[in-house]
Assembly symmetry: C2
Homo-oligomer: 621 residues x 2
């Protein structure tokens, strides 16, 4: 047996016991005739004391109070077992320990005179009687401390060392706890976790599929699932009633800042349900997770906001509702007094009111202007209005507007003395709202309104069924082609499909979409119509979704579901900026695992077996 206890386990109640610990050397400190070694494992850190004096010298020792003497005599009593090893040797050995050595230490638990209140084991220490080096260690390329000195690339290359750091380890532990709680909750409601295959067929948006050549079927390929969408719908046709799966999904796309080629979904589907049933079930799950993992009781029902309102008031389908600062439409206010061409020509004018920010200097306003003019945001400029202490309005456009209009603005914005009004305008209402959304989020951040420890959840509902794709020149499914239109909008499918709303919903937390789903079509005729609107020929629809459409002919129940992004969900609970930090072995922005050095070239023999050859990459630039 390598240990009697972990390094996070011993307390005052264990004083007097002889124990064996094993772990990594976190640090060593030599102080006079003693060497202190902090030994670390996943569970904590325990201080080990190695004493220079042999026990027989102890009574002569000048320093050291009652407690130490007592401990030393305990040490003495176990010494005969270790007859061949002098204390001096043990002390020398301890002084040779390097950082991250793997050690096994036996000794006696002693109450510390100088307790460390920051450490759960800080009341005790171990007076060592035996030390065994289980493995030596080279000096790690960066310090294994909460705040590492290692850069991102170095930490990724040595991810196995990075994972030894407490903050990283805690993310992995949180991830484990979250999946346990998700399963506990869903199991308690009768959901079955059902594994769907990883080797499936390539789907229509095939460009994003990772494909897998089959050796047994030369020239043919599997695809890795982007999600188990169609498979979970088949499980509903199977009568499985309530399905979930915590499952890897794959997308071979250019990786934006916070995407991974493989990611994990909490994937769920239910039969014989309406949208309301699903929202209730998964609102319950969110509450369960907040309660169990963060000790937060989310009170009341989650607010529900239509997609139209979310766009109108927040310029986003995932509004950060930790703070208000809603958009106010101002076109009609300024239309009363034409003359300022920028506003006169704008199709949309919208403002936000930053409470108490009238103190913003010219320079700060200029920074904000630069912010909204950045290419990623693309606004042409920023108009502001300060409400001064006397209630008068000082604005960048006050040469164009009289006091009446500025007062009307103040009133419309419900602005008080000391507030700062920020206004954007543009030709395209949707684009301008998105710009204003960025400005709102920036102001929220500057004003400290986006506290990572505050959580604001809501449902965004009634998404549009279709989006117009300029690229494809056709309507595309906003969610996916199996999404059920709202019953009251079904007649519009024939007359004005772009106006059709769907039974689709997203759960949003702090401005992040943490989950989303929809009620699915279970009527084969409606599904046919949907494919026609989406521009699928019957042949192509059959080719790509034939197995699902055929399945629906044998009695599909009404069903719907939802998928959560586990990585995003854990990041949110852990307060992380990137999903990468909650993944044990993540890939970088080029989709590479720098630790494993994957992907890599194959041996010719492997290619031959797959009947594949490589096409040279032409440098087109």
């Amino acid at each position: 047996m390598y240990r009697t206890h972990t390094c996070g386990e011993l307390r005052l109640a264990n004083v007097g016991e002889t124990v064996t610990l094993a772990g990594w050397v976190q640090r060593t400190r030599k102080m006079g005739g003693m060497t202190f070694v902090d030994v670390r494992d996943r569970y904590g850190i325990t201080q080990i004391v190695f004493e220079e004096q042999t026990p027989s010298q102890l009574p002569l020792k000048g320093e050291g109070g009652h407690l130490q003497e007592q401990t030393s005599s305990q040490t003495h009593s176990t010494l005969p077992l270790e007859g061949e090893r002098g204390e001096g040797l043990l002390f020398d050995q301890a002084n040779k320990l390097g950082r991250e050595y793997v050690v096994q230490v036996t000794g006696n638990v002693n109450e510390r005179s100088n307790k460390n209140k920051n450490l759960p084991t800080g009341d005790i220490e171990i007076i060592a009687t035996e030390l065994k080096v289980l493995n030596a260690a080279q000096t790690p390329p960066f310090t294994i401390e909460d705040q590492s000195d290692g850069g991102d690339d170095l930490r990724m290359k040595y991810r196995y060392l990075d994972l030894r750091r407490t903050p990283v380890r805690k993310n992995i532990e949180l991830r484990h706890k979250m999946t346990m709680e998700v399963r506990r909750y869903l199991d308690s409601l009768g959901f079955l976790e059902i594994e769907t295959p990883m080797l499936i067929g390539s789907t229509p948006e095939g460009a994003r599929d990772f494909v897998v050549p089959s050796r047994m079927n030369p020239g043919q390929f599997y695809a890795l699932p982007q999600s188990p969408q169609t498979l979970k719908q088949l499980l509903m046709v199977s009568g499985m009633d309530r399905y979930f799966q915590i499952v890897k999904c794959f997308r071979d796309e250019d990786l934006r800042a916070d995407r991974q080629p493989e990611f994990t979904q909490i994937d769920c589907e239910m039969s014989f349900v309406t949208q309301e049933d699903i929202l209730q079930t998964f609102e319950g799950m969110a509450k369960h997770l907040f309660r169990e993992l963060r000790g937060i009781e989310l009170e009341g029902a989650f607010p529900r906001m239509t997609w139209a309102d979310a766009m109108k008031y927040y310029g986003s389908d995932k509004p950060d509702t930790r703070f208000e600062m809603k958009f106010v439409e101002l076109k009609d206010v300024f239309a009363q007094a034409p003359g300022f061409a920028v506003f006169d020509d704008a199709q949309y004018i919208g403002g936000i009111c930053a409470k108490g920010q009238a103190v913003y200097t010219r320079k700060q306003i200029d920074q904000l202007t630069d912010f909204v003019k950045r290419p990623q945001i693309g606004a042409k400029g920023l108009i502001y209005a300060r409400i001064q202490e006397d209630g008068t309005v000082k604005s960048s456009v006050d040469k164009f507007y009289g006091e009446d209009i500025l007062n009307a603005l103040k009133e419309r914005m419900n602005a008080q003395p000391g507030d700062l009004i920020l206004i954007l305008c543009g030709d395209d209402a949707m684009k301008t709202r998105k710009q204003l959304c960025e400005l709102r989020l920036e102001m929220g951040a500057r004003m400290g309104l986006r506290d990572k420890n505050k959580f604001s959840l809501l449902w965004v509902i009634d998404f549009p069924m279709f989006e117009w794709s300029e690229e494809e020149g056709r309507l595309m499914a906003t969610h996916h082609p199996f999404t059920h239109p709202k019953d009251e909008d079904i007649p519009l499918l024939d007359t004005d499909p772009a106006a059709v709303r769907a039974d689709a919903y997203d759960m949003v937390c702090n401005g992040v979409e943490v989950g989303g789903g929809s009620i699915r079509i279970h009527d084969p005729e409606l599904q046919d119509k949907m494919f026609r609107i989406l521009g699928f020929t019957e042949e192509r629809a059959q080719e790509q979704f034939g197995f699902l459409m055929n399945a629906f002919k044998y009695g599909a129940p009404p069903h719907g579901g939802l998928a959560y992004g586990l990585d995003r969900w854990v990041s949110l609970f852990a307060g992380l900026d990137s999903i990468r930090d909650c993944i044990a072995f993540p890939k970088n922005n080029s989709g590479r695992d720098v630790m494993l050095d994957a992907p890599a070239c194959l041996e010719q023999k492997q290619l031959d077996e797959l009947y594949l050859s490589l096409v040279p990459v032409k440098n087109e630039k």
Copy 2:
């Protein structure tokens, strides 16, 4: 809301309630003025009654006792809500229902006069007041009953219908329960479930890797893991201490009868442990699963058998110990009286004693002889000896041996009157033992000793470290190159590596290897030596396992682990002959998903994006 209850939920206590159920039409029966419809969902079956009579006619009705009248009056009381729909219409509607129609039925719970004791809901029925067809269904291609009339291929193509059958559904439910219990058990012991990546690098036995071309890194490939072996070892270097994962693994190999290209492992690893710690931990898990899932209390510690003994007494490293019938070595018995060339020349002679089987006829013995002579087994012949009622021995070789030798045989075999001794011999002891193993299993089956509801578990330990590969002309790792040799055998690495035993262990149940693992090497020098013995050049070892060997330089703890085959484990608990039956969407023996029709050809555009071209397959035959 689609339903107030499931189809498995209603009992006598619900009588008098108005309920709504939803599900599939299992069958309809018209009997006189009533139509009975069994509606099925995942939870059960409930009988729905549609009556021809309108309620106002009921008092005139001749048949029907008190209960029916009472129920009918209840029906009547809810009728005004359904004013527009006459009862007659409802009855006609019910008579038009086809098999597998999806329906929603509202009605009143009634106590049945003719109870069905085989059904949990058999005490009640629903007197229907409303019926809604949620979806029609074509006639399914096979019957959705416990015993289907569908062949294997048809059932796989329509797997979503096959899954509606109760026995198949129960396997999927059992699988869910098993993973829940595995997680519960391991979580309670401080194991963390940690996801390891699916897109990794190709490994040395690369021929079996599925590879995945990377669009972002043209010409380079990921590989899908055959197991997370090296990654879990890295997690131990990370200090994660106790890891597990229920994880998909992939192997692109010719599929033997009961293999799948993707399969699921319960993968575990622990730090600071000896073999004993691991055996205890996972013996505990097996006991937990048997208790929770089968209600079976496995008493006492699992027997442990060395690999050498398993081969000697059972001719297999996964002995079926539900029955004894151990091998007995007979070479020395027959050597006392040379003359029978077959025995005289044999290097090995072994027998088994089939209790009470002396009644075997000549014809039955001939069948057994044919059995062992099949090419898959390859024995040259079978020798038998019957112990007759009077204790004398009647044998196929009694012309070569006198009574003394035959009695010595009887004594050695510990055979009693009525027993049948079966003997194989051969030049190669190991080969002959494997043949005798097949014969033993066959006899066990014939004698009813291999009851699927009896479970006999044991550990097979002390596996040989290496096996000689004729093909490669070198020693290969029996388990894998990271397996730790037994401490006492380490000196043999230099002198007689083929004799080295490993700290490797398999859990065996009923003749099936359900899990296996080993203590790993954590000492970089020992690992180097191992690679040398296995014929790796330093360069090649570095190329293939560099990341692991480097990681070990930074302080690897002693560690070891084990992996269970989930599919096999569920099959065992469910008493299935094939792992396929416990997989929701399995592949066939050619690695094809016939339902999804995968794998399939890609579009040229997809190949172009991956910089791949297909090499035509030459017909070499």
